[in-house]
């Protein structure tokens, strides 16, 4: 297990570099938007990765509610954190793309708006985790995650209908996509998926270690002959 990590990390770094090259140079230039459109190759894969991570969070949370498995709880925590990181990337690259193309920083574009709401929901999830003093925080967090996941289709539909009533510019262009561009997009997505996996794996190990240490510290405090508890 320990050997695999560095090898995989090197492979991922290579893949990310290749994907970056393709995005900046290899991919054809878009006709209407020009080079700025290349933000697409980072913006969209980050969004897809974030959605995938949050889906895993939902599954892990449900699993935890049913089985009370610590591993599931840690997976839920980790995917939420890394998911929020990727969401932040989407929310930063989106306006950076919108501004030169549409002249405005924000638009109630469905992907951008859904991502914003998702970001808010999962940040509140992380805040609950941090500020809860209950011994059963994982249960509370898992319940919140279920609520969040149930909310997602409702968020999507409400924004979709809102946009049909109040049309807005669409970031990322609709319609069909040049196959060469699709290829570069998918390469970047694969690269970011590998990267996300590495980050989640590291964070998972950190969390496991942290909990073991805390348990040991608690035991030590109990058994310490110098403590005043008899």
């Amino acid at each position: 297990m320990k050997k695999v990590f560095p090898i995989f990390a090197v492979l991922t770094a290579g893949l990310l570099s290749y994907a970056l090259y393709q995005a900046l140079i290899g991919a054809p230039t878009e006709q209407t938007m020009g080079d700025v459109q290349r933000i697409f190759y980072y913006h969209v894969p980050s969004a897809w990765t974030a959605f995938l991570l949050f889906s895993i969070n939902f599954v892990a949370s449900v699993w935890y509610l049913i089985r009370r498995n610590t591993g599931a709880d840690i997976v839920a925590l980790v995917t939420a954190e890394v998911g929020v990181v990727f969401c932040t990337v989407v929310l930063v690259t989106g306006p950076l793309w919108a501004r030169p193309v549409w002249g405005i920083w924000w638009t109630w574009d469905i992907r951008l708006t859904s991502t914003l709401v998702l970001w808010l929901i999962y940040v509140s999830y992380l805040l609950l985790r941090r500020f809860s003093t209950s011994g059963q925080t994982p249960v509370l967090a898992a319940a919140l995650a279920v609520f969040g996941a149930l909310d997602v289709p409702l968020v999507y539909f409400s924004i979709w209908f809102f946009r049909t009533q109040h049309p807005q510019p669409v970031i990322g262009g609709g319609g069909s996509i040049d196959p060469r561009m699709l290829h570069v997009l998918l390469i970047n997505w694969l690269a970011f998926l590998c990267f996300a996996f590495l980050v989640c794996w590291s964070r998972y190990r950190l969390e496991r270690l942290q909990r073991d240490v805390e348990e040991t510290q608690a035991l030590e405090a109990l058994l310490d002959p110098r403590s005043s508890v008899r």
């Binding site: 929901i121 809860s132 003093t133 319940a143 969040g148 909310d151 409400s158």
Partner: protein, 229 residues
């Protein structure tokens, strides 16, 4: 089965009646909510001085923001009495189904917020010279469904926030993001009805769906939350 469902509604009715009675005597929550809501209306009135036409466009948003803040005030004290008197522990060991407690609290909150809305609406009409150009009666289901959407999740999250630092802040922090689809629906529906511009049916159906989904989720998960405290 019949005995069990009678027990559920019995406990629900009893808890609800107790809450209403206690509230009627002290009027703690209602007074603070009312005053807070009045302040919000007045501050908004000073900030915006719209024409009747403009009012119809922005009133939807203003009104629901005001109701949302007032609802948070009510929701924050939902479980305060229970915590003070260690009632929750008693509920946990009693054979009464935990959902009956939840339903009682949610319905109680709904009534408080609904009363508040009824009292505040005339104020809004006066301050903003409001008149519904669309089917005004539709505002009733919008208000009812919308209020329930806020209250059902709010009561649940209030229970979740009991053991957190900064409890009063944690409730709105958790409630607002999840409520966004419902808030959007409430505001859009109200604006459509007031301005007579389009049909609110989609939003009303969305609100009903939202209420159904989250009422079910709250009832399904409340017991786990209660045990977690």
């Amino acid at each position: 089965m019949r005995a069990e469902s009678q027990a559920v509604s019995g406990v629900t009715r009893a808890t609800l009646a107790k809450d209403i009675r206690l509230e009627w005597r002290s009027k703690d929550a209602i007074n603070s909510m009312l005053f807070f809501a009045l302040l919000v209306v007045v501050v908004f009135a000073f900030s915006f001085d719209p024409t009747a036409e403009e009012s119809r466009q922005i009133a939807g948003g203003l009104v629901w923001v005001a109701f949302l803040f007032a609802a948070v005030v009510a929701l924050n004290q939902t479980w305060a009495r229970e915590i003070r008197n260690q009632v929750l522990d008693a509920y946990r060991v009693s054979p009464a189904p935990p959902n009956s407690l939840f339903v009682a609290k949610a319905v109680g909150n709904f009534l408080f917020v609904a009363i508040l809305e009824c009292l505040m609406t005339p104020l809004f009409i006066v301050f903003y010279k409001l008149r519904a150009l669309g089917p005004g009666w539709q505002l009733v289901p919008v208000a009812a469904l919308g209020t329930w959407a806020l209250v059902v999740n709010g009561t649940f999250f209030a229970a979740m926030s009991l053991r957190t630092r900064s409890r009063e802040i944690m409730l709105p922090l958790l409630l607002f993001p999840i409520s966004i689809p419902a808030l959007l629906a409430m505001v859009e529906a109200t604006t459509i009805i007031l301005s007579g511009d389009g049909r609110a049916r989609f939003w009303i159906v969305l609100l009903a769906t939202y209420d159904l989904v989250f009422t079910t989720a709250s009832l399904a998960l409340f017991e786990k939350i209660l045990d977690a405290e």
